[in-house]
Symmetry: C2
Subunit: 233 residues, 2 copies
DNA sequence: TAAGCGTCGATTGTCGACAGTTTTGGCTTG
DNA sequence: CAAGCCAAAACTGTCGACAATCGACGCTTA
């Protein structure tokens, strides 16, 4: 026991942690596409813009480097990570691997509560698709998959997913309005959830493979079109 | 193309990167068991001992935090990560998931060269076991598994493994001489390699499950005995 | 005219310092 | 003698500054 006297677990101090704030800020800028892949991220500039010193910025940059959002080039600074088509393929390869596991585990441990939450999330996606808000729809998509990993009940597995998706979002953030059909995106998740609810292992695996296989192809095409210099909104 | 004119590939400048040096130093101290789980890692103390300022130490600590070796407690400093039995179970759950994938992929892409390297590694383990050097044997064990991930040809998958094993090594580093039978450890890997060489998917999966299942149990027992305050060398 | 070299500005890597907070040790008190 | 409180020390979080290094621009030269 390291805790001397634990009262009720109430306080949960709001982390004023400047480093994490900076990390979130930068992360958001990257994911939202305001910082394009390949862009140099100057410590001094960020520090000036945020009105703080360079030390917290540096640490935040290290954090994002380890998360795969930034690439550190010694003595030259940090750059927004660029993803080649091959790397996207790697990411999806790994993602299929872990998401199969997550979906199976989630199916085993599925509670009434999480089942309802998952259904609600799909309804949200559908609503956002109807409202023609692709960005929010993609965010909801991400959350849906993340909920599956949460339901799997393995925090390390969830961490891998977070790492993966933060890398992927460097690219996916660029999709925005480009996404052709949000409705299709929303509907594509229904059979996956149904398979998880049904609890048949082979069906679940097939659905995950299919769902992510499609995503892998589409994101792959996107990246390819990006690297050939297609126009962006 | 970013390189203007590539001469022969000679230079390979030694990275003076102080941060990584510190990270390696701390990492080694933790893995080798000189820094026990739960121990506070004082920035000032480390900086003094290494004869440098606190800034690089701070950044290295952040790095190790993100790697799972340290735990950051705001305003209180960094502590060597402690692993509960449940967390070790989580780690092995994830590891089985990714190692199944890695073993399958490695089997598909197996070249003559990597096959020879894997066999050599097993021979090395055997030799170390005969020489009664459990620490080196464990290191060789780790390297063998890492080589499988390398052979799989997915750098992200490898990164997950590195993350996993760095967390596990916090515990495993404490085993040292406690390990009961190094020879058993060395021999246990033979069928796994043979399965990979044979290239039969179901056999590979079964071997991975068996091999890691055993390891999971043994490490789990170790952690349990640690938490009950068993003596250590 | 084009290629190579040297210099200048800008940026990173590292340092020491200061303010605020946590911990520790001793002291008081029941 | 144990528990609680108070003050001092130690430590973290952040800052501004300096030296070393990198990239760019202009100059020299074949």
């Amino acid at each position: 026991m390291r805790v001397k006297s634990q009262l009720v677990g109430l306080p949960e101090v709001v982390e004023s942690d400047l480093v994490r704030q900076v990390a979130r800020s930068l992360s958001a800028a990257i994911v939202e596409g305001r910082l394009r892949p390949g862009t140099k991220v100057s410590e001094a500039a960020v520090a000036r813009e945020l009105g703080i010193s360079r030390a917290p910025v540096r640490e935040a940059a290290r954090l994002l480097e380890n998360q795969g959002l930034l690439r550190a080039s010694p003595r030259r600074g940090f750059f927004v990570r660029e993803l080649s088509a091959a790397e996207v393929d790697e990411l999806y390869d790994l993602r299929i691997c872990v998401e199969r596991h997550a979906a199976l585990a989630a199916s085993c441990r599925l509670t009434q509560k999480t089942r309802a939450a998952l259904r609600e999330q799909l309804a949200l996606m559908d609503a956002l698709a109807r409202a023609d808000d692709p960005a929010a729809c993609i965010e909801a998509d991400y959350q849906f998959h993340r909920m599956i990993f949460e339901a799997a009940g393995n925090s390390r597995l969830l961490r891998v997913f977070d790492g993966l998706s933060s890398e992927l979002r460097v690219v996916i953030g660029l999709i925005g309005r480009l996404y052709d059909d949000p409705m299709k995106l929303a509907r594509a998740h229904v059979p996956l959830l149904e398979a998880i609810e049904a609890g048949r292992a082979d069906t679940i695996l097939a659905e995950v493979d299919h769902h992510l296989g499609v995503a892998r192809r589409e994101v792959g095409l996107l990246v390819q079109s990006l690297s050939t210099g297609a126009a962006l909104p």
